[in-house]
């Protein structure tokens, strides 16, 4: 687990940049898919393979990186690339099997993803019982469920790249499955108490996680914790779109809004890279808690 520090102006800056970067990454991921689907659907499966290969290479590259900031930064992008490939593979599967859209508008690939819930549970159970996993949420559950038989594993994690990669995929996967279960009209439905609950709980947890995030004043830990923080807020974005209260700018290709998001992403990428380079050259110092 990363060590939490007092909230400072610096940590507010790092938090804001991380949140903008992860949000921009998700939004740009969506718009890339929409543009390909709209203007050049013929290349989508080649694109998926390119993403998978790039993601795996990027993940491999973290093995050579020394700073946890770079490892997390590249690990997150590797996670997004492989996630792209996974969504496209489901899209291909849905197309091949003739899976329809639902009457409330859910896409075939997400319908298929819903049925991976048991697989998700299996992976989650492994993480829950694996005592060396240091994820705050899983650690909390392990403590509450009395699954922890000793102190949590401590010591340096040598490569945060694969962890960030896995975290990105797991968090995104979990929330997609959760939303799809909520949208299922046989189980709950888009306007059911369950979906309302997911909406309000996600909104509340986003603020709590943002508050926690403010304690991390460097990009390694901050980026990693920004992943669940933004993804949980993304639940609300998705639900608002489902309720037709929000026209997603990346689906309806609203360029003025998308330009702001892309601009924010570009600026935050620049700030992150600048900071990480500064750190690797020893120009930025971070004091640890004693």
């Amino acid at each position: 687990m990363a060590t939490k520090k007092p909230i400072t102006l610096k940590s507010i800056f790092y938090t804001a940049v991380s949140l903008v970067w992860i949000f921009g990454l998700s939004a740009i991921g969506h718009i890339v898919m929409v543009l390909i689907e709209k203007y050049n659907p013929a290349i989508k499966y080649d694109f998926a393979w390119a993403c998978a290969i790039t993601g795996i290479l990027a993940l491999y590259s973290t093995r050579f990186m020394k700073s946890d900031g770079w490892q997390s930064f590249i690990g997150c992008m590797a996670g997004l690339c492989v996630w792209f490939a996974w969504e496209y593979s489901l899209m291909y599967g849905g197309h091949d099997l003739g899976v329809t859209y639902t009457w409330n508008g859910s896409y075939p690939e997400y319908r298929m993803m819903k049925w991976t819930y048991m697989m998700l549970l299996m992976v989650f159970l492994y993480l829950l019982f694996q005592e060396s996993v240091r994820c705050n949420f899983i650690f909390y559950l392990r403590k509450k469920l009395r699954l922890m038989r000793g102190a949590v594993a401590t010591g340096k994690v040598d490569n945060y790249g694969p962890r960030t990669f896995f975290e990105y995929i797991m968090v995104t996967w979990t929330f997609y499955v959760l939303l799809m279960i909520g949208y299922d009209e046989v189980l709950f439905g888009a306007y059911s108490w369950f979906t309302y609950m997911v909406f309000f709980v996600s909104f509340s947890i986003f603020f709590y996680l943002t508050y926690k995030l403010l304690g991390y004043d460097r990009f390694g830990a901050n980026l990693r914790y920004a992943i669940p923080t933004v993804t949980i807020l993304w639940n609300d974005v998705e639900i608002l779109a489902k309720w037709q209260m929000l026209k997603e700018p990346w689906v309806h290709i609203n360029w003025p809004i998308m330009s702001v998001i892309i601009g924010g992403f570009a600026v935050s990428t620049y700030l992150i890279v600048k900071d990480l380079r500064g750190r690797s050259q020893g120009m930025i110092e971070t004091k640890d808690i004693h």
Binding site: I43, T54, S61, F64, Y101, G105, W243, L276
Partner: protein, 184 residues
């Protein structure tokens, strides 16, 4: 930190892969917009000439086993609310859907004549012709058939003789009122 450059090389590799997509996107975008404009022109011309096919989308299994009788209901309201809910659920489980015209003709959506290998049309995204009013609401220019069960649509396409009274209908584009997914 020189190894971090390896990561950046990976990103560049992705961009190189995507480059052909981007350069094609310009032509792809132009082609896409030209296709939609051409479809809209042809759709409205056919509408004026009275050659579009109008009908309500009905769910096939409950129609053919006689459980629902949309053909006996007033045109435009083929199902009760409860029936429509069930019909929608069946359709999203990939039961075949049909177009029932006002004169009672049943059309089976199919692919273009000559195409032997095909896919489920319940999963297919059809181009949707949108009016100026709908454009203002940022309506999506495509639709699939499942959410349209029980609703009236207008089709630009080709009619084939079909079999045993049920005609084949190749849907080139479709138009309808309201949102694709109507919401609550």
């Amino acid at each position: 930190m020189r190894y971090a450059h390896f990561g950046l090389i990976c990103i560049m590799a992705l961009m190189i892969f995507v480059q052909p997509a981007y350069s094609q996107e310009q032509t792809g975008k132009e082609k896409y917009e030209a296709r939609l404009t051409s479809l809209a022109d042809r759709f409205f011309a056919a509408q004026k000439a009275g050659t579009t096919i109008k009908g309500v989308i009905v769910e096939g299994n409950s129609l053919f086993n006689g459980t629902t009788e949309p053909q006996k209901k007033p045109y435009g309201k083929p199902y009760s609310d409860a029936e429509r809910k069930t019909a929608l659920r069946s359709a999203e489980r990939n039961s075949k859907v049909f177009l029932l015209a006002r004169d009672g003709t049943l059309y089976s959506p199919t692919v273009k004549k000559g195409q032997a290998e095909s896919e489920s049309l319940g999963a297919y995204r059809f181009d949707r012709v949108i009016t100026e009013e709908q454009k203002k609401k940022k309506t999506l220019p495509w639709a699939t058939l499942v959410p349209l069960v029980g609703r009236e649509i207008e089709v630009l396409g080709e009619v084939y003789p079909g079999y045993s009274g049920v005609k084949g209908l190749f849907i080139e584009a479709l138009g309808f009122e309201g949102d694709y997914v109507p919401g609550k």
